[in-house]
Amino acid sequence: MLGDIATLVLQGTMISAVYALIAIGFTMIFGVGGTLNLAHGALIMSGAYVFGVLAQGAHPAVAFPITILVVALLSWGLYQILVRWVEENVVITFLATVIVAVAATEVILIRFGSSPLGMTLVSGAVNLEPYGINARPRIVQFVGFVISWVAIGLLWYYITKTDDGRSILAASMSERGAQLTGVDLHSVRSKTWLIAGALAGAAGIILGSTGGATPLMWLNPLALAFMIVVIGGIGSIKGSVVAAYVIGFLEQFTVTFVGHGFRGILSLVVLVVFLLFMPQGLYGREFAHD
């Protein structure tokens, strides 16, 4: 029993770190522009594919930063080319980004077909059975955990300690207030999309190198990001991290005590409870602008 719990904690901790990485970019964009970026899943997917292609020729340590850069640029390009022209209308943005996501699927299908693309970031695993934990986690999962927390740490430092970053925080609290204090909203939003893209790229690399890349892999991360943001509270990075752990552990709990086929059901129930009784989430304010 104690071993079970240790296993649960270990596996929950590692999967939750990836979930946090998936959700933070989504919540940042939501917080700053009030934009629901439904193409976030597609950015994660592009991260997996870009890394998959690069890693065939280059060392993963080289492919990793290039992928992050490429996805960051894709995200930023999406903002510049499409979203900034429609962002004043929430509904149109919503629709435009979801269309981008389905179009991305078609591009992947044309270029790579429907079979999965495998890739390796690091190989190897650790056998924890001698320590009473029934698991042999892969090293890439530890790497995912580390990347997640390094990213969260960097983001926290950037947003709270640098002027640049503080303008993002200001804009997410009150756009009007930020404008009054001389923040250039357009450049703040561009930067947010750039950073969110980088985070999505990292998430994509980890998802790709744990489960392979497929043309429909954007759906689940998007649904997950959505749920995490609702539970954590719109626009709150802290909330998203906490909610990611809540969801990750709930899933692990279901898998351990109910069965693998029911993974995700309990988190859906929690989501509905939150929506009905606590729509502002754990750390958020209600979705209302100006």
């Binding site: 077909g113 429907s114 495998g118 695993a125 892969r138 744990t210 689940n220 693998h260």
Partner: protein
């Protein structure tokens, strides 16, 4: 492009023989199938044709989407006036066009779906309506379950493995296995120590592996078509778990699969009709595989060395069709359906994936391909292959097709 063009010229009337091929063209299975149908028709056209007539092939993409499949099928039947439909992969796409083909009396050969319900719920319950439907292969899931159970018994002989962890897609297609495998295994003195159906919407294999490990199973018997087992295989290699991974894994049949996952599939097995072309199932298998690879080795898209299982079956289907047409002495199948069916039931052709004969109207599986059994009753036309290198696999079961013994993973040897 070429096929569209040919279609415009060859469509309509009884003046030409037109074969409609249906497959998901974004999937290597479909690409392999298209290549083999082109090969077979070209070879047979050069070799005197179908009852003396030249055939043209029109391939349509079903996109693994039932309504798309129905739309292209209707087009093939009504505008191109096809004399034969061949192909289809997912059972839902196949099912969606059965009524349509029956309505227009078009002979339909299924080469990619194995659900027994495609036969039992249709020709099995209303023979007159659905007598146009034949299944070329692989053998249906009921026989597959039996064959896999025999394979497990072989593993037990070989490695003394008798504790089984039974995993499957949480999807309808694995239900025949879910119902039959436990009984079949206990008949063979094998014990199921762990079983679960995994969500096809994404599964984290970490906890699954821990559970299997805890159950102290000797091997995992898994049936995955929707789930890609890549994550499981990587964890298996990296964690060096003390059990084998056996069964059916559709993604793992992709010839480039093991390379794709950096060798993580090495030592896993999957049953597949045609055995990936690694063995001589009949005397025609190897010449066919060589012809295929010399023709497509420089192609951009996989599969280039051998078609996947659907390609073997499609190739055989065209040969069966030629045999039936030659005996029928006309290519107008749609107006002579009863005679055509009669000829099909008389067919006994050596194909590239095995001997082809069909069950008659009164059997449990009318018009389904017959399983082949050796003298002791063991089914032999559902071979199992094992990955042994980045690009190499061997046939490990059954005895008559075996190219190598089943290997234990290197860390268990």
């Amino acid at each position: 492009m070429a096929t569209t063009f040919a279609g415009c010229l060859g469509g309509g009337g009884s003046d030409g023989l037109t074969i409609g091929h249906l497959a998901p063209m974004s999937n290597p299975l479909g690409i392999g199938s298209k290549r083999t149908v082109d090969m077979a028709v070209e070879e047979l056209n050069d070799d005197g044709g179908f009852n003396g007539e030249q055939a043209t092939v029109i391939t349509k993409d079903t996109r693994t989407d039932p309504s798309e499949a129905q739309s292209v099928t209707e087009e093939l039947i009504q505008q191109e006036d096809v004399d034969l439909l061949i192909g289809t992969f997912n059972s839902e796409t196949t099912q969606s066009i059965l009524d349509l083909t029956a309505e227009f009396d078009v002979p339909f050969m299924i080469t990619g779906s194995a659900a027994p319900s495609l036969v039992t719920d249709y020709a099995g319950s209303d023979y007159d309506t659905y007598k146009n439907v034949f299944r070329i292969g692989p053998i249906n899931s009921d026989f597959q379950a039996e064959s896999i159970a025999d394979y497990c018994a072989y593993l037990n002989d070989q490695h003394d493995w008798d504790r089984v962890a039974f995993l499957r897609d949480q999807a309808e297609w694995t239900e025949p296995f879910g119902e039959q495998i436990p009984g079949l295994l206990s008949e063979r003195d094998l014990e199921i120590v762990y079983q679960d159906a995994l969500s096809i919407e994404g599964t984290d294999f970490g906890p699954v592996m821990s559970d299997v490990n805890e159950s102290d199973a000797d091997f995992v018997l898994r049936f995955f078509a929707h789930i890609d087992g890549g994550d499981m295989l990587t964890r298996w290699h990296e964690g060096q778990y003390d059990f084998g991974i056996e069964g059916v894994h559709v993604s793992g049949m992709l010839p480039s699969y093991n390379e794709l996952y950096d060798g993580a599939a090495t030592y896993e097995t999957t049953a597949q009709s045609g055995a990936a072309g690694v063995t001589s199932i009949t005397e025609r298998t190897q010449p066919f595989v060589e012809a295929y690879s010399s023709r497509y080795q420089d192609a951009d898209e996989a599969p280039i060395r051998a078609p996947m299982y659907m390609g073997f079956n499609t190739y055989d289907g065209i040969h069966v069709f030629k045999e039936a047409i030659d005996s029928l002495e006309t290519t107008d199948t749609r107006n002579n359906l009863d005679d055509f069916v009669g000829e099909m039931l008389d067919v006994d052709v050596t194909g590239v994936a095995g001997q082809l004969r069909f069950y008659g109207p009164d059997s449990d599986y009318p018009h389904d391909v017959r399983e082949e059994r050796r003298a002791d009753g063991t089914i032999t036309n559902y071979p199992v292959t094992q990955w042994v290198g980045p690009e190499e696999s061997e046939c490990v079961y059954p005895d008559e097709h075996r190219t190598a013994d089943h290997q234990l993973p290197s860390w268990m040897q």
